[in-house]
């Protein structure tokens, strides 16, 4: 749209009506301003998107108030922009002649003020709409640590970060993406800490997005991530401000999207997805223990049903005799081969999982009971499946939920099927082949230049303090090298060493 504000109020109003329409939610309000010699003005806004109280009290009331100087002869005439800024009690006023900018402002929730015989409009920042209150995170529950989470509104989300990171270099760099949705997207980082090359890369990839709409942060993720066809997520998602703030303090970049309570973090590596904020909120040894449990859980999630199939179908001699006999006795009369049994159980489990997620809580419990009793116990009693398989499948399912990231957990759950298929065909060879294939693939991935499997391979010695292990906080003197921060030093001294020197120790 190339037009500019003409200054003819009727003409400008018509142009606005032609552009954004005159729907139920759009308000065109005409006023006379005594302070401007009863000049005719037009305020345009969308009803659900503005703060109505602010509109009445901070915009309309001051504009329509009788002027003290209007009738005074020789009174100094204030220039219009200065008059508007000094009269209206709102956070921001911006003058613009560009129709695109004016229309964008209206649909984004700002009010626009047009004045007769004045060839510019004033964009008045009085956005305000009904929004969910900040509440506890639903998908990343932690025992200790803060209980707040992001909401669907950008402003409170930015405030949640700002409250945690009061660095002067903290930047919220905004852009608007989506030709039709015109969604606000914000890159959050600390200037002077973030790696400029990575920042430039993220910015460039975001600017290259040409699409009609950005509905949620996952859209952004799919547009800008490396290896778009990969099953693995390569950017962390979180609804926890503490986690996002910690990432910013490591020199990483957080991308916020309006209308989404989940932010994405770039770059991220595989091991980030096995870490949880709880690791840092408890003693370091517990953090390390939980991480190792999650690693084991990931292994079990991929391997449990495959191990059952390859051990019962191919390598029975590897089982201890008593266990082999027990499994054989339990499987007596089962009409299906172990591989078919396992596939059917895994598929049913996924169906139950999907049903449980979609249903209301009360019905979800019913699904759990039906799933557990009917499909599990009854199928075993009917001799359709072996009890050992139920244990193997259940172990895999529970293990997959131990992975903190839902996206990674889902990827791992999906990978069970090809691994199971390969194990069913070639026993241990198939299993190992699939594992090597997956690991090689992981090693070949990158997230904004960072090798996805680092710092394990390629091995980064310094980063081992906070990868699988979680060393005490004073030991983590450097920031992770993953995001190549400009300032790699996190802390220089530890309280203990200070005390020692005070006591005259070495």
């Amino acid at each position: 749209m190339q037009q500019k504000v003409s200054g003819d109020l009727r003409k400008d109003e018509q142009l606005l009506i032609d552009t954004i329409g005159q729907g139920l939610d759009t308000e065109y309000r005409h006023l006379l301003v005594p302070a401007l010699n009863n000049a005719s003005v037009l305020i345009v806004y969308i009803k659900g998107l503005i703060n109505t109280t602010e509109l009445e009290d901070a915009i309309i009331r001051p504009l329509t108030a009788p002027s003290r100087n209007a009738n005074e002869k020789g009174a100094k005439k204030t220039p219009l922009p200065e008059f508007i800024e000094s009269t209206l009690f709102i956070a921001g006023v911006k003058q613009s002649q560009d129709w695109t900018e004016i229309c964008d402002a209206i649909v984004s929730g700002d009010s626009v003020l047009l004045i007769n015989k004045y060839d510019a409009a004033f964009i008045l920042a009085n956005r305000g709409w009904e929004s969910r209150a900040i509440s506890e995170p639903t998908s990343e529950v932690e025992i200790r640590g803060p209980k707040d989470s992001f909401v669907e509104n950008l402003m409170p989300n930015m405030a949640l970060i700002r409250r945690r990171v009061r660095d002067y270099g903290l930047r919220f760099e905004g852009m608007r993406l989506g030709d039709r949705s015109k969604t606000d997207v914000v890159m959050v980082y600390i200037e002077g800490l973030v790696n400029d090359q990575i920042l430039h890369e993220v910015r460039t990839r975001l600017q290259k997005i040409k699409t009609d709409a950005i509905m949620v942060s996952n859209y952004i993720e799919e547009f800008i991530e490396d290896s778009k066809y990969s099953i693995f997520p390569k950017m962390e998602r979180t609804e926890r401000p503490d986690k996002a703030s910690a990432a910013i303090l490591e020199g990483r970049i957080v991308i916020m999207v309006d209308n989404t309570p989940f932010v994405v973090i770039a770059p991220s590596v595989f091991w980030n997805f096995l870490q949880s904020p709880t690791d840092y909120y408890e003693k370091y040894i517990l953090g390390t223990f939980w991480r190792s449990i999650r690693l084991l859980a990931m292994f079990l999630a991929i391997s449990s049903s495959s191990a059952y199939v390859l051990l019962t179908s191919f390598h029975q001699e590897m089982l201890p005799t008593s266990l082999a006999l027990k499994i054989a006795a339990d499987r007596q009369g089962v009409p299906f081969p172990a591989a078919i049994e396992a596939f059917v159980m895994e598929v049913l489990l996924e169906v139950m999982n999907e049903a449980g997620l979609r249903l209301p809580k009360a019905l979800g419990q019913t699904v759990s009971i039906v799933g557990t009793l009917v499909i599990g116990q009854a199928a075993v009693q009917a001799g359709l499946i072996g009890p050992a398989l139920v244990i193997a499948v259940a172990t895999g399912a529970i293990s997959s939920y131990a992975i903190p990231s839902f996206a990674m957990s889902s990827a791992i759950r999906l990978l069970r099927f090809p691994v199971l298929f390969c194990s069913s065909l070639f026993g241990i060879f198939g299993y190992l082949g699939a594992v090597i294939f997956i690991t090689l693939y992981l090693m070949s991935l990158r997230s904004f230049g960072a090798p996805f499997y680092s710092p394990i391979s390629p091995f980064q010695k310094d980063d081992q303090k906070d990868t699988l292990l979680r060393l005490p906080r004073p030991q983590m003197k450097k920031r992770p090298s993953l995001a190549k921060p400009q300032d790699s030093v996190r802390q220089t001294t530890t309280p203990r060493s200070q005390n020692k020197s005070e006591e005259g120790g070495p």
Binding site: F314, H315, E317, M318, P320, T321, F426, G427, I428, F429, G430, L432, G433, I436, F437, T439, L440, Y441, M443, S444, P451, Y453, I456, S457, P458, F459
Partner: protein, 374 residues
Amino acid sequence: MTKAKISRMQYFLLIPNLLFPKAIGITAGVTARRVGGDAWTAMSIGFVVGASILLLMILLSSKFPNLTLIGIADQVLGKWPSKLVGLVLLIFFIIGFAVSANVMTLHLKEYFLIETPFIIICLIYILLCMYGVALGVENIIRYALLGFLGCLLINITMVFGTINDFEWINFLPVFDRGLMANIAGSIYVLGDLALAIMAIGMIFPMLNDSNKAGWLTFWALATSAVIIMIWPILELGVMGAGAMEQYVVVCMQQIRCAQLTRFLPRYELIMVFFFTFATFVQSATLYFCAVYSVKQTISVKKDWYIVVPLAFVLLPVTYFMARDHNDYVNFLDYPWSQICTALSIGIPLLLFIIALVRGQLMKDNQSAAGSSSA
């Protein structure tokens, strides 16, 4: 491919991976067949000789830091002789790959997948290695960490599982067959070391910091020697030379002798689990070296033009080499070990001497990189 860079640590870890799988899996048995209870001394001699050749290779490569063995041949011998060296290396790496791959396929065929057609096992293994090569040598070498950890875990579990049955008496008399027989028997270890020597000759230019590469290689080789020599020593101590001679895959028999706990009377599966990673690194690296040899010899730009057709060559070679395990063992006994020894000593030494005579070892050869490495 030439842009790939590997760190010093990756390089260090690669060397044990290039040696371990075949050395513990097959070589100990072949050596025992020739020198009986002196297998461990013969293998030790082989390591000492092999180490000096590998260090010669490093010395040569560090004088031409950006060139592969074929590139060095191009600089030292000229265009057409270097093509011949490239061809020889290509054949060497193809057969080397088959030798390495069959360490894995024979383990599987003889102990785990007895009824599966051998050609299928070969095919899947080659496809897996092909995938690794397609992803790039950096990714294969990144796997070396997992391979090395796997090697350590096998060693630890094997030592704990067999130490109770260890008998010193099996070692006596030392040098039973005499020194000359031991030296002759060491040739089988040289066959394994030759794979590492030639592969390092191709990969060395990718090392991102070749400072003190000789020491790095020496310590990598010393580490390899320790984790490999544990096997013939324990195999001899537990099974005795007589039993060692009877088996193609001696390490599996050793694992069968081991009992970790009453609940884990047999852990071949666990052993294979750890062992596979190192074997994969060895095979995939040799596959890559074969691809790289073709690339440098005939200057093909696209990797896929070489990677896929080469798989069609590797499959029959791998299959026919070990279709009958006796043929495989006989081939390793003669002529493979002899060929390996001749090539691994001959090529680096020849290039070194000619370069020395021509005074090229004194020059700064850094700038020659671009012209020869494709």
